[in-house]
Symmetry: D3
Subunit: 160 residues, 6 copies
């Protein structure tokens, strides 16, 4: 069973890493897929996000790391209709995710979405929160992989 775990990963957090490692232990094949969104300028470029994922997951070479653009459902169809894996942290996630899962199902009846509950330790965590804390030089060391922490420091130093 092949699963793709899509997201913006701008940047990857320990909440994502937790889901990725738990999923890698269950699924035969796991692809982490970074969404290219041309309308929304992120903090990190797609190339940087892929590099941070690769660096953070370098001990798990069996996990594939890719980027894609366009509709998730079209990307999934091209990959042979794997399941889509999503993490659930909280109610607001849930409702949004439920609508996306149903919309995807409406477009392609063969593609299922499966959800995994976030570790409660990371239930408050999001990439946008990380960007906000880092912008004010707050401590994010227990919330992101070391490579991300270093990249954030450089990013905000550049900004000075």
């Amino acid at each position: 069973m092949h699963a793709i775990y899509p997201g913006s990963f701008d940047p990857v957090t320990m909440g994502h890493i937790d889901i990725i490692l738990r999923a890698a232990a269950q699924f035969d094949e796991l692809t982490v897929a970074v969404l290219i969104n041309h309308n929304k300028k992120g903090l990190f470029t797609i190339e940087e996000r892929l590099d941070l994922l690769r660096e953070s997951l370098k001990e798990y070479p069996e996990i594939k790391i890719e980027s894609f653009s366009g509709l998730l459902i079209d990307y999934a169809a091209k990959k042979g209709e794997p399941v889509i894996l999503r993490g659930l942290r909280a109610i607001s996630d849930f409702e949004n995710e439920m609508q996306l899962a149903l919309a995807n199902k409406n477009s392609n009846r063969n593609i299922e979405t499966l959800f995994m509950v976030s570790n409660p330790k990371y239930s408050f965590l999001s990439s946008s929160l990380i960007r906000e804390i880092a912008a004010f030089q707050g401590d994010v060391s227990n919330l992101v992989p070391p490579a991300v922490e270093k990249a954030l420091r450089l990013k905000y130093k550049e900004g000075l």
Copy 2:
């Protein structure tokens, strides 16, 4: 009993159509009211949205289709204080709608808001989801009326 069903309708979806037809069967008079929001550029112009509503509802000439600007509560007062009708799809709708209903009630004690539950088939559906799917040439044929599907195709061809 007269009801107005306000919204942006950018564009009208099958979820809206479902509420409109069910409401038309219950209320003596029904007005679909397109909100003119000068601060937010939509995909379709107000005139296009009205045309798409008229085309999609042409078999129901008893349903009035109008636009309005300013506060909904002022528009409703001018129309003789009909009830305001809103669709509920999900929790996130609910809370926002509840606050609007209470805010309207606070401004004019005579104007009530009534809610109707969306058909679960369309519970994941929103105009913004339609715009997003259409932007990537995804299939929206069972989610919008035929006139809207055609208009979306033209709109995104224009974009090329």
Copy 3:
């Protein structure tokens, strides 16, 4: 347009009265319908609940007050398929009500449920809360009609 407002009303609260009076101002005809539930012994008998409703609404003789047993949808069909009116106080109400509305719709496509938002003053109010406060001789004077307050005092004195 005829609406029925069903419930247990064990006992009727100011939250119910608020919905009833606002609905009576909008609908051509309004029937308050007390559900007879043989499986659940209430605090007040069905006859007492009807009496308390009649006493509390005696200035509004145009509002009908009845009881019914069996499925709401069957009762509504016998009454000529009026709309069902329900109050919404909070999220937990919402989800339960949404499921009931969809279940009713599934059984009879002609019967619609409309929702009205509770006055926030009464958003914390339920018949079970009233019974609990009254059981400990707490003050419920601003939460129920005078007739109910008196009946609760007698009921709990009887219990001694």
Copy 4:
């Protein structure tokens, strides 16, 4: 990848069947597991529930159908630590399920819970709703498999 889909199934509904068939198409192995709860007398006996599942799924002999007692996590450990599959219909499900998933994870770090979103057509559906409608001779024909409809009719005739 092996999944177990646990529940009370008192009785199995079309909502359950929808999840079961979609899961069977994705997982290498699927076991439907009926929880034996000695503290809660159900409408159907465990043996009847298993029979209704077997009859409703007889075209899918690859799907295993079993019962278990005690903690789900102990049952899952004995089965070789498959993933636990659960359906999500609504927010109230979500929160409860999230707590169960975390509690299970706390007991056995190797056992994951995966969630699948219910078909919105069945989002209002639960076994308890079925029992309630059937008790009043309401129509449940599009909500349960034919074998369950027949069993409910017999069950409530017995009751007369």
Copy 5:
């Protein structure tokens, strides 16, 4: 500033202990108050619950431990109108707690309720979950204080 932390504590969990210790660090005075509910037979007697609290908090003699019966608001009035402290774990807690806080405020305008967010580690934890796991000899060692774990073992051995 004096706070009372009311609850059933049947039995006290690590989630309660976390709130109690964090509150003790902030408030000048803290009283843990066990509600005596004559209508609901618990697993532990009120005396046992008080003993388990005393044993679990013996290193913090400044924390008062008491029981009360009747309405919380009357108990609080007798104690000189301290604030009421409650823990919030999840949405379902929130709504129920919000209604209780408003009901208490309605009865006595001087008594405020303050909420503290549970440690996410314990966000899935409740006394009823503990009772359920312990009934099946599941492991609760990281979810309750040692004294409670021992008491649960004795309690369920007694049951044999």
Copy 6:
């Protein structure tokens, strides 16, 4: 016990005032703290917001009114680690607030967040709703202090 009540206050509403006065009655010291957000241009300048707070609370000179920039947690650390006070109106507030409280706790274990439930009269109220109503010359007289009403009238006259 010292509490800080942070927010944007663009502008202060009766919902804020209600929380502030109730908190002032409970805490030994209360500081209202206006967040300076350089990325988001508000309707009122920070200086205007402080003036409107001072004018609205001039009968309560014991309440401190300040502004701060950067992370709330850093500001709180500089102020001697008071508790952070937040109002809760609705579920959507709740989840967001819960995440912020946990994020703050993660950064500084000594700083607690306490929540107070909004008066239900103001449960629909937010600064953004006020700005929207005022922009259309709607009536906000019972939703904001008199000084704010006057300032809004001037602000939108300037706009002409």
